[in-house]
Symmetry: C2
Subunit: 275 residues, 2 copies
């Protein structure tokens, strides 16, 4: 999917919502456990209920890998259920030396070989340019590079002050600009405070930002839109648990739909106000 196509989808759906498919078999409604494949059945109903209100789905691969081969099969079946016009993110946080990162790129982008045809994959920056560049060789596919993460440990290194008078995450963003264009690279930005987001926009004015910090992880959608939006929207705001676990009852899909619609309705207003 191109940047323009993603923007068109956002305008059409009046939404920049990404739904995180972080499906944990110990947290899904108990009545689903009698299904032949509870995880896929849960995801199927979540996708059917929320597809109208979101522009992206983001399974975190860890939730699937924890179930071994079966989990990998579940991820495969889940991705086959996502409608075609919805952007897909493999939240895998991969990164390795060049020839090995090329294998990861094939794992997520090369359907013939791996069965997966994601639009994008999250990548960790620690190993530098050759850990990222193999992913950029695929047309209309995206790297979503970890820049500023919202977890406690994010502060351990990402905010390290460099002698070059910048923080490490700023160096990551500036360096990534030399690797690929805003048509190829997005950034993970766990910043939800106004000042952090406006500062981030100064160094990445054109890139889409994937913002994980709304919903169960806290964060104000209004501030994200006010300080993070650019002229192509430039935002994908993720919500996982607040949507997919909105109810543990038989009405989980209906409640997920309500939560997704609520966020879409807010986003509709914010698009009017800040785009």
């Amino acid at each position: 999917m191109t940047r323009q196509q993603l923007f068109d989808t956002i305008l059409e759906k009046r939404s920049f919502l990404c739904v995180g498919l972080d499906t944990d078999i110990t947290k899904i409604p108990p009545h689903l456990l009698k299904e032949e494949n509870p995880v896929v059945e849960f995801n199927r109903q979540i996708i059917e209920a929320t597809a109208e209100f979101c522009v992206a789905y983001k399974p975190n691969t860890a939730f699937y890998e924890s179930m071994g081969v079966k989990g990998w099969q579940n991820l495969q079946e889940t991705m086959n259920l996502v409608p075609e016009n919805i952007f897909t993110i493999a939240d895998a946080k991969r990164g390795d030396i060049g020839n090995t990162s090329a294998m990861y790129a094939r794992a997520f982008f090369n359907k013939e070989e791996s069965g997966f045809d994601f639009d994008s994959v999250t990548v960790a920056p620690y190993m530098g340019v050759d850990s990222v560049s193999p992913f950029l060789g695929f047309d209309n596919k995206w790297v979503i590079l970890l820049a500023l993460t919202s977890n406690e440990g994010g502060k351990d290194f990402q905010f390290s002050e460099l002698k070059s008078e910048e923080k490490l995450f700023e160096k990551v963003v500036k360096t990534a600009h030399t690797w690929g264009s805003p048509e190829q690279i997005m950034f993970v930005v766990g910043a939800t405070r106004a000042s952090e987001l406006s500062d981030f926009r100064k160094i990445a004015p054109d890139n889409f930002l994937l913002v994980p910090g709304v919903g169960a992880q806290g964060g104000s959608l209004q501030e994200v839109a006010q300080f993070g939006m650019n002229d192509k929207c430039g935002l994908l705001v993720n919500s996982s648990r607040a949507i997919i676990y909105a109810s543990k009852g038989e009405d989980f899909a209906e409640k997920a739909r309500e939560e997704a619609k609520k966020l879409r309705d807010e986003m509709d207003i914010l698009l009017d106000k800040y785009l």
Copy 2:
């Protein structure tokens, strides 16, 4: 496996060799392609041929993920073929926020859930403490933290000069000491030059180091031993392509065995000299 058990194995086998099972179906001997499962058959023969001379096996997960569900099955079957007394490394370079890293830890360490029972997993440090700590909650399991990688892009950020008068990788190592002991944490160190290794040993005197840079990636085994060894050996030196692709003919296992034996014989001498 505990540090003492690993050291005992090294002494017994007179080897600190790790064999990288980076099996690429496009590179294995053509005669294997007629087998029902070429990748697993290749790995089976490689393991049988080299187990006598190595103390660890390290599959890089990217090579398996590139084949999708089938690849994950191959990894599972491969790990079931590794003899019990050999240390196993999931070279997966994972790392995520706390609750998600806990899923990754289960993916590689919790056999009941995922089918995998690796001794260790490689982890990327960018997301800090909570991306690492879930792996440390498993008895006698290890985190092998990326510190100094040998690839070109390793220089992009790992050598960044911090205001605290240290390089980023040094901060990573020093910070990791506050997370876990040398009984729990090893470091990936792609340094093969004498000066780099001795400097690294100053900040991590007791930890085992996983050194990838010998064999196809270059690097002198003699210098690694001289400047990297500590009183528990403290080294796992990996070789992948130089062993597993030593021949593309029907004699590939025999040639792999010869290459592994050659390295073991060198290591035997180096253990005598520097331990």
